[in-house]
Amino acid sequence: MSAPRPYANSHDRGQGHGPGHGPRDADGHRDAPPPDGGHGHGSRRGYVIGFLLSAVLTAIPFWLVMTGAIASVQTTAIIVVALAFVQIIVHTFFFLHLNPRAEGGWTLLAFIFTVIIIAIVIAGSLWIMFHLNSNMMPMDGMGM
């Protein structure tokens, strides 16, 4: 009876990684997917809602820029960027199925970390190079 111990342990560990425990269930019987697989990989409804939202969030910025519906360029730009962020969030949740429960929260943590790094890299680069450019401007003019 000492044998089951290690097995139980490795079992416990294996479960964390166990490649597609859900899918394995689904292999066996057809009625498995609806209960847990259904909301694990997204339902048809989830994809359709995500797609419709995404289509609207794509159409509006293109329409704004192509028709010039709003006179102010700055206002248009702000709306376009805001809609892009909303759309990225829509895609992340409806298509990539990011949620706090998946993989014990590690995917969400990795995602937040990545978002922070992306923000630092992009905002930092633009900020630094903008100041560098404006500081170099007089010299640039003289050099030319």
Binding site: Y7, G18, D27, V48, L96, T107, I122
Partner: protein, 219 residues
């Protein structure tokens, strides 16, 4: 990990006929409905690192986006209707990819293959339109060598295009593998990775059409 699980299961069948081990199974299974375990998390981290690559390319493009060197500006060379068409292609391919995943969930091999093929066709249309756009630009003299802005543009958009192309190869491989082996557990895992990869490319494209094309034309 795949090689690990069967032994565990086997061990269960032979030695662990007691009630204890299945208990682990049940509790964990309820929480991990998305579990392909290590592979899915690892692939997710790959996707995040891929996102970082694009972040650096976006940052580079952002810094260089006004360095025209006397060459053409975005509003002179970008054709928004073409970009809108391209965006539609990628967006539609995203939902057809989702349909493939749903067909997979239902254990429908033919349906999965069909939706994957449709996804691939839209992806190929995207690549085709993008190549056409690039060819037009180069024809007009807006080559990557013309200005820093154009270098940044071709690098960013080209890298995204290369990713989509890799996705197309992956789709073809998966359609063939599904034909040979059906929806075995390995193929399901691969399909889940493929779907995540494809959706991430769509997310990156949102950034491209917003920051490169729309804001470029506005400027």
């Amino acid at each position: 990990m795949t090689s690990h699980s069967p032994t565990v299961e086997e061990a269960n069948g032979t030695a662990g006929a007691d009630a204890a081990p299945p208990l682990f199974y049940q509790t964990e299974a309820d929480h991990h409905d998305h579990s392909s375990g290590g592979t899915m998390l690892g692939f997710w981290i790959y996707l995040m690192s891929d996102a970082l690559i694009f972040a650096t390319l976006f940052a580079t493009y952002g810094v260089l986006s006004t360095s025209y060197a006397g060459g053409p500006a975005p509003s002179q060379i970008f054709d928004l209707s073409l970009v809108a068409l391209n965006t539609a292609m990628l967006l539609i391919s995203s939902i057809t990819c989702g349909m493939a995943m749903i067909a997979m969930e239902q254990g429908n091999v033919r349906g999965t293959q069909l939706w994957l093929a449709i996804t691939g066709l839209f992806g190929a249309a995207f690549i085709g339109i993008e190549l056409y756009e690039f060819a037009e630009l180069i024809h007009e003299g807006a080559t990557p060598m013309r200005s820093a802005f154009l270098s940044g543009f071709f690098t960013l958009v080209g890298t995204h295009g290369l990713h989509v192309f890799s996705g197309l190869i992956w789709i073809v491989v998966m359609v063939i593998q599904l034909g040979q082996r059906g929806l075995i557990i390995e193929n399901r895992r691969r399909l889940m990775c493929l779907s995540m990869f494809w959706h991430l490319l769509d997310v990156v494209w949102i950034g491209v059409f917003t920051f490169v094309y729309l804001l470029g034309v506005l400027r």
